[in-house]
């Protein structure tokens, strides 16, 4: 019993089936934009979300998943088409949780997703690699510096 309850929590909390269903519901809106996720895609994204949360040593605390928010925001992107829709979302989910960590939790989920989207559409030119390794990196470094000055 004195084993780390948080480890148990991390193993059991994420209900990927529920997340898959919520991910599939995003098709109601994305289909208007010519984008659609299959059941396989939804499973892949739900698994990717869980893996990313675990890899970044995080715990999910409510069912209002960032994954769904990312999909709903980025489906509007001019750089994403049907052929790379699922894979791009998977990449963005990973970037999101890394950036969350790198920004010292300073940004809310919505703020971070908005910033990611704006960078993706402008400075990063639709490149996930540039988004993560350059544009977000600069932002997160500035945030950490500002926080260090305050503390």
């Amino acid at each position: 019993m004195e084993e780390n309850i948080i480890e148990l929590f991390m193993k059991n909390n994420l209900s990927t089936i529920a997340l898959q269903e919520t991910i599939l519901k995003t098709n109601e809106r994305s289909e208007e934009l010519g984008l659609r996720l299959s059941e396989q895609d939804a499973k892949m994204l739900a698994d990717e979300s869980k893996a990313s949360i675990n890899e970044n040593e995080r715990i999910e605390i409510n069912s209002d998943s960032s994954t769904v928010k990312i999909i709903e925001k980025f489906m509007q992107s001019t750089y994403i088409g049907q052929t790379d829709y699922a894979q791009t979302m998977a990449g963005l989910i990973d970037v999101f949780y890394v950036a969350k960590e790198e920004s010292n939790e300073f940004l809310t989920d919505d703020e971070l997703i908005d910033i990611m989207y704006n960078f993706f559409e402008r400075e990063s030119g639709g490149s996930i690699e540039l988004l993560q390794t350059r544009d977000l990196e600069i932002l997160c470094r500035e945030i950490r510096n500002k926080l260090n000055q305050i503390l």
Binding site: N4, I5, M10, R58, I59, I61, E105
Partner: protein, 301 residues
């Protein structure tokens, strides 16, 4: 209740007081004292409370938190349970409460106690401060003038209950500050209660006497006593008890070389256990000390 007392396979000493609830639950599960259904209820209640606290922590603006933060928040939930169960005064009563009360109720009662102790700690600190000794030992002055205020201003029972938000180094009578078992607000309450009693005891003596005694103590170590991490009350009590043993019942601290030689002879008649009993008897013969039962019990422990 009697049947639990007879059959309990562990006692208070087997339970880790700085992690009371989990330690108690672990023992209970090992010995099958709590059903699986109740076990499930307890864990679900703790999880529900944890998720609520985490939601409050993030103000609902983040769907995830770091594992590290999660552990701190979860410990804060458990801390409420710890405080309540410890307040019941025994592992048998704590076990009865765990088995018979809803865990949500234990958490709520624990939170109320934590808040009560938080305000009580201030009253205790102010009583300790009323008798502050004008003695320039750095850690003593720090604990009396700064540490408590840092705790009181920054402590968060909801989000980081075990963190006292300050550094406490000044040792207590017969105990280093880090050796205390209690944590969080209970640690502060216990620590400043001890300081309050030590200050009350020391205030029975003249400040000049105390400073002279500390000076002499420093000479033993070839340095100024202000640079030593020592407990003032310990030094005062040692000299006071030595004088009592020599039949000197006034509240002076002076010991001459002759006194020390007489003391060596006097002590040779006692075993260490007998000497402790003798000291306690001598303390109880001093009305000024014995009248303050809390102080008396603290000094003789």
């Amino acid at each position: 209740m009697d049947s639990i007392l007879v059959r309990l396979p562990f006692d208070d000493n087997d339970i880790n007081k700085s992690n009371y609830t989990l330690s108690l639950l672990s023992n209970c599960f090992s010995y099958g004292l709590i059903s699986e259904k109740k076990q499930s209820e307890i864990l679900n209640s703790l999880k529900t409370e944890f998720l609520e606290i985490a939601r409050q922590y993030t103000k609902g603006e983040s769907s995830t938190i770091t594992k590290e933060r999660g552990e701190i928040l979860y410990e804060s939930v458990l801390y409420s349970c710890d405080v309540y169960l410890l307040s019941l005064g025994g592992v048998d009563k704590a076990l009865m409460a765990l088995k018979s009360l809803p865990t949500g109720h234990i958490i709520v009662q624990g939170k109320k106690l934590v808040q009560k102790y938080y305000y009580q700690s201030r009253e205790i600190y102010e009583k300790a401060f009323d008798n502050i000794l004008d003695i320039n030992i750095h850690e003593y002055m720090l604990e009396m003038n700064k540490s408590f205020h840092e705790f009181y201003k920054n402590y968060s029972a909801r989000f980081d209950a075990k963190n006292i938000c300050t550094s406490i180094d000044y040792p207590l009578l017969n105990q280093f500050a880090y050796e205390m078992e209690s944590t969080g607000v209970c640690y502060i309450k216990d620590y400043y209660t001890a300081l309050m009693l030590e200050n009350q005891f020391c205030s029975l003596f003249s400040l000049n006497d105390i400073k002279e005694t500390l000076n002499n103590y420093g000479k033993i170590y070839h340095c100024n006593y202000t640079s030593l991490l020592i407990n003032i009350c310990q030094v005062v009590l040692n000299n006071f008890l030595a004088r009592l043993l020599l039949g000197k019942k006034d509240f002076s601290l002076k010991l001459t070389n002759e006194n020390i030689a007489d003391l060596e002879i006097e002590c040779s008649f006692y075993t260490s256990q007998n000497l402790i009993s003798k000291h306690n008897n001598l303390l109880s013969s001093c009305n000024k000390i014995y009248e303050n039962i809390q102080m008396f019990n603290y000094l003789k422990s």
